[in-house]
Symmetry: C2
Subunit: 416 residues, 2 copies
């Protein structure tokens, strides 16, 4: 299924009528030639490729599978890149996201979430009529298992489930042995549910010792369920958001379950990376993880927001046409990265001085602190690094993909 | 121009192929009958109507014009409601937003922002070829005026501009008499720019005395420019976000410029209202503004987010399938409003207990604090009030509009 690109979408160049994404490159837009209406979000092909290969080498080294979390981008074009680089499947968070991915060709989905509610189950029931569609979701309670069992047995369909384990004060997931036993008992009375593995999201914890302990617990539970022959197939043991996937790879492979389980990592942000918490996490793992340390260059920020300087009302303040409508702001404000003066004839951008700083983001504006001596003018173009890919992607329906010369060579659509 | 509704959009019921929005009502979805995939955002028709009429009576009482800020919803369906209730035009923030609005029939736009950058000017230049299209944008610097003048004179087009006034440490806008003089001089040398008024955004200030002083300054500048015959037409004097529009109405009408200027207010959030800062602002104005005090009932929250309880892993914690992908979180977290148990056969919802509280919002999940004795179950449906309409609307491409019985009778598309 392809959805034509509407000229109404923001951040694109000029065209008159809906076009397939495949025809956008032929318009030969160039960012520095001012062919795009700003603000815009752009992806850099070469950096996407670097990050994709980095993660392939990382997961290959550990001999684990990759199911990148698709909620980050919700972009089938990027899912395709991830699958081309060997990803085992795509992780998603909601029934809607699974539907959107399926409609764009994704056929193996790990929904790292409970599937709750009749219309949401109905979405999956319809997709599961396709025998090519492989799907897993989570259960963490007897009540949830009974709801699923009742719905899917009425459809004469079986459903693959993973048990989610959780931690006290965390998100979903069975915390205690009693909760786990309740789930197992509910599985016994709902034979339509096929137990296919164990899932954790370690990202609700914030320190390495606690995360390692939680991961060891997941290994122990998996080992126990294996010994009890609880699994309907070679089980999946899965964890890992974008900040701690190195620990998950280390702990899950150190358990020496290799031949009896399929280990699946689910980071989503590595493909674009960022200049905030994920860059800090990356620096940590490049110092401490034996594989990450050897993989150079590391992950690179592959997503920029470009905007115009629209007002310089005070010597130390520039107002930029970029706001909360365009950029994540929950984990750090956008960081000035590049400066370009349109009409200068140059095909090069300059690095933004380190003292330029976004101090406030409103719905449609950013406050940029500058020095009175800086050569910054109204109409100049600035590129910004971002600090949370997920909440940036969902601000954009179409994101141009650029080559190293800032030519638009492709387009990533999103389906939030 | 109509854009068909894709079954890929989130928060809708089941359908197989793209449909015009006008055909959605015929599907006869009902929220309480669980016809919608959750989470979803919904608008309540009766409350939209209440708010629309409230604002009409308010602006009529002051004999001022309304150009609601369309950036809030970016929904042509809602723009249409606003125009039907007598709005003079639609305010917008960016060239992209103006394009999207124009393509959906909007023909009078106040762009409460500088128009900067060649591709952005080109968008407007193309729209201005339509003689039915009336457009105003802001200038606050000589450099900005020169850019606009140079571009539009090369197109043999004139451009309507308002001078934006600003405050120290604020956003854009001329702060000083020198800055204002520079702008006026630039206007003199750019005759293609038609000076049509004066603009302020008082919302960068946070207290009544400072706002009143700023508004008085805008009146004084307008009076001076009137006396100097600076305006190319009966000038527009415009201000007002959603929090302080009562003060703007008071100050601008108190100036007794009535026959010589057109006063235009630009609040955007009144149509859906919220349960956060705008509700607090509304309570203030209902106590202090002589017109607002008489208009009962006041503004009502017309937008809810509905989601399922997906896990209750601890006696005091429920995990809800609603996150930063669905709701604004920059001005307060979503507030539980209604509770409904599917399958109960009831056609009524219950108010959420006051002690239910969202304490954390992740990308796709909310943490809800409950009491162990509460009758809350996995699969229950909850409605949440929101605290910032703008950053909630931009999470949704289609928003069902419901009647009082929770039937989907219409659909608002958004074009962010």
């Amino acid at each position: 299924m392809t959805t034509p690109i509407s000229p109404t979408n923001k951040g694109l160049g000029h065209f008159d009528r809906d076009l397939p994404a495949s025809e956008i490159a032929a318009l030969r837009w160039n960012l520095l030639r001012e062919d795009l209406v700003l603000p815009t979000a752009v992806l850099y092909r070469d950096k996407l490729f670097n990050n994709q290969q980095w993660m392939r080498r990382f997961t290959d080294a550990y001999n684990v599978r990759l199911a990148p979390h698709g909620k980050t981008s919700m972009s089938p074009r990027l899912f395709q890149l991830q699958l081309e680089a060997g990803a085992w499947g795509i992780t998603l968070a909601t029934a809607h996201q699974v539907l959107a991915a399926y409609q764009h060709g994704i056929r193996r989905v790990l929904m790292a979430n409970q599937l709750v509610g009749r219309p949401n189950m109905a979405v999956l029931s319809r997709l599961l009529r396709d025998p090519q569609f492989e799907f897993y979701c989570l259960i963490d309670s007897a009540a949830g298992a009974d709801h699923l069992g009742s719905f899917f047995s009425a459809q004469n369909q079986s459903l693959n489930v993973l048990i989610e384990l959780g931690v006290p004060n965390g998100r979903a997931g069975a915390r205690t042995d009693d909760q786990l036993s309740d789930v197992l008992t509910a599985l016994d009375r709902n034979p339509t549910l096929r137990l296919c593995g164990v899932e954790v999201y370690e990202g609700v914890l914030d320190n390495e010792p606690a995360i390692r302990q939680f991961l060891k617990h997941a290994v122990a539970v998996t080992r126990r369920l294996l010994s009890e022959n609880r699994f309907a197939q070679k089980p999946i043991l899965t964890g890992a958001g974008s900040a701690w996937f190195d620990l998950v790879a280390e702990e899950f492979t150190a358990a020496n379950l290799a031949d009896t389980v399929e280990i699946v990592l689910r980071p989503g942000c590595y493909l674009t990376h960022d200049a905030g918490s994920y860059e800090r996490a990356h620096q940590r793992m490049c110092q401490t993880n034996p594989i990450a340390r050897t993989l150079q260059p590391g992950l690179q920020t592959a997503l920029h927001l470009w905007a115009y300087v629209q007002s310089i009302p005070e010597p130390t303040r520039a107002i930029i046409g970029l706001g909360r409508r365009d950029a994540a702001f929950d984990s750090g404000l956008p960081i000035p990265a590049l400066h370009y003066r349109p009409g200068s004839g140059s095909t090069e951008t300059s690095p933004a001085p380190a003292h330029w700083e976004v101090t406030k983001l409103m719905d449609q504006h950013a406050y940029l602190t500058i020095d009175p001596a800086d050569d910054l003018r109204i109409g100049d173009m600035l590129a910004f690094d971002i600090c949370h890919p997920c909440l940036t992607f969902d601000k954009w329906r179409t994101i141009p993909i650029l080559d190293a010369d800032y030519n638009v060579i492709d387009l990533a659509q999103t389906f939030f």
